[in-house]
Amino acid sequence: MTQREETPSWLQEQKEHWKQAVRGRSRRDVLKGIGAAGLTGLAGCSGGGGDGSDATATATATATETEGSMDSGGEATDTPTETSTPEPEVSGSMTIFHAGSLAPPFSEAEPAFEEEYGVDVTREAQGSVASTQKITQQGRSADVLGTSDFRLIRDRVLPDFGDWYCIFTTNSMSIQYREDSPGADEISADNWWEILTRDDVTIGHSDPAVDPGGYRAVMTQQLGMMDFDGSSLYDEETYNQLRENSTVPTGTETNLEGQLESGELDYVFYYQSISASSGLPYVDLQPEVDLSQATSEYAQHYAQAEVETDSGTFVGAPIAYGMTVPSVANNPEAGAAWIEYFGSDAGRSVLEDLGLVPVDPIVVPESGQDAVPDRVMNVASAQSNLGPLEL
């Protein structure tokens, strides 16, 4: 429980960063795009539409959104106004394919969402890559696809299987361990690399070739030896020792916790959202290595990390989760409603409760914004990049 109490501070910190990143962009971009976006906003506002039971809830969500926009100087593209076209009714059932690390917030949100929108939700949690491939390779259909790296959607789903996506939350890397891991009584954020490079220590992370969590773990280890603000955490020799102690015992991160608990691994690198919701202790890492900060200063630093795998080279970037409604969706309106929910206060608080850092408001790429469903556009801000990330 002690770890949980720390949560608000880092959460707060990261939220600030993201807010700044979002604002920084919007000031410039929105003025340019305001004509088109404003129109979309007007045409598509879900606010007090004729869609019965969920009208109030949506209205509340958009109202809060306005407040949020005001806070940041009123530059968000979505200006909720009276509705002119009623939103299509949401009903029936829907399917969601998503990354394993999204399973906790999604399962938490599911009952409330089902209640609010009257939709029956079926979820399939798998690795981000596997979830994406189910649509692009297996010809399966889902109404929402959620991945731990939005670039998967940008690069593999667009343009054949979708026209847009949104970035709705971020995460950070952390190190989880057992109470009886060697060196567990000494480890802290200031000396983790010293403990982890000891001879008898086994570090685990998922496979960089098939899982974003895997290459991000390697990036975290690399970033520790890169200069940031004129100093690095450790030298190259320490990094090599870290790599030597590291094994890849699994494809996706879902098996790591079991392997850690069984005693076969002493320390594992994975997302803080997983660490924070597990009962085991964890180390909250420095922002210069945890890939959580979306400022350009940090992003330039992150970009120094490069992981080569059989499936290509991955360059470091802040962790940004993406969602989309694929073009093969059977119930696209319900899919859009799910994304709208995660752009609302209710959705954001679910994400926060489970250790993720919601992006507020959610961001959609400017280039594809015409394709964004109205109910998503209402809670989103269109941008050409998010801080340093090209959209």
């Binding site: 690795g127 494809g251 076969e264 499936s311």
Partner: protein, 326 residues
């Protein structure tokens, strides 16, 4: 009727073989035809129909025709998806994968690891099967324990192995994570029940009086096992071993948790190499390269397994019941 059946069954070996070849050729031709025009459904009906007609031609009895027709429905369910899978393969990709040295290692590990697991299951499973066929107090308990791994979900089986034999488990000195021992343990956990049960059936089908006769003639129990019961049960053992081996070849869940990548001695390179068990590798190929590429690797695994099955079946059916395999 009886006489006509007699004559119809009196095909000599040569005729029998040419009949089989002709039947297979017709099936292949029709499948290729229907596949090319995009109507594999027609082939399904053809398969059932041709089985019924052939059964009628060989043995006009309604009973045999009924058996053949019913049986061919199952064959359609098993074979048609496999045939379609094989025809969907891109030959150039298959060749490319077949020449890849990484794929060779995977195939070697995918055959060799399960072989170790099957052999281990037999070495310790045959004595257990013998005991079970004779019965002993508390037998139902042991039987349930043997069958239990069959109902354990496979990723859970992997976790069970890690907790049982890992650093925090019963043999902390053995390293199971990512090791050959771990892989074999995980495979044996899910496949040993097949070895034990098949062997046990074989022991149970042996007439007890044969054993008595052997003992009366002065053979010791060891000798009786070596010369009477063992050879009589050898087909059961082989079947059990093949089943266990096949089950281990296809195991994904438990192996992915315990031994995602395995370092082992690879004789063709003369050194230790690291590779993944074939199903894990196929899945990762799918994640990295897509369906076609992983399909090509899966096809190679299927081909290798098919050849091994044929060899084992050939060795065991070509001999009399007492074997010749051992």
């Amino acid at each position: 009727m009886a006489t006509s059946a007699e004559t119809r069954f009196s095909l000599n070996g040569f005729e029998r073989r040419s009949l089989v070849v002709a039947f297979v050729a017709v099936q292949a031709l029709v499948f290729a035809g229907t596949y090319t025009i995009g109507r594999p459904t027609w082939y399904a009906f053809f398969m059932i129909g041709s089985a019924a007609v052939t059964a009628y031609a060989l043995d006009g009895d309604g009973f045999t025709v009924a058996l053949a027709t019913m049986g061919s429905v199952l064959m359609v369910a098993l074979a048609l998806p496999l045939f379609l899978f094989v025809s969907r393969q891109v030959p150039s990709l298959v060749v490319e994968q077949a020449l890849d040295s990484g794929v060779h290692r995977v195939l070697y590990l995918g055959v060799y690891g399960p072989l170790l697991a099957a052999v281990a299951s037999l070495i310790f499973g045959v004595p257990l099967a013998h005991l079970l066929s004779k019965g002993f107090p508390g037998q139902p308990l042991v039987e349930s324990l043997v069958d239990l791994p069959l109902v354990v979900p496979h990723s859970v089986a992997g976790i069970i192995i890690l907790f049982g034999f890992g650093s925090g488990g019963a043999f902390p000195s053995i390293s199971v994570l990512g090791s050959m021992i771990g892989m074999v343990l995980a495979m044996a956990f899910v496949s040993a029940p097949y070895a034990v049960n098949a062997t046990r059936e074989a022991f149970e089908s042996i007439d007890d009086r044969l054993e008595y006769a052997s003992r009366i003639h002065g053979a010791s129990r060891w000798e009786t096992f070596r010369r009477i019961t063992g050879p009589l049960a050898v087909r059961g053992m082989v079947t059990g071993g093949v089943l266990a081996w096949a089950r281990a070849v296809s195991e994904f869940g438990a192996v992915a948790v315990v031994a995602y990548s395995v370092s082992f001695f690879y004789p063709f390179a003369g050194e230790k190499v690291t590779a993944q068990h074939a199903p894990v590798f196929v899945y990762n190929t799918y994640l990295q390269g897509g369906l076609e590429q992983s399909g090509a690797v899966a096809f190679l695994l299927l081909a290798v397994s098919g050849v091994i099955f044929l060899i084992v079946r050939y060795l065991t059916t070509d001999t009399t019941t007492t074997g010749g395999v051992v």
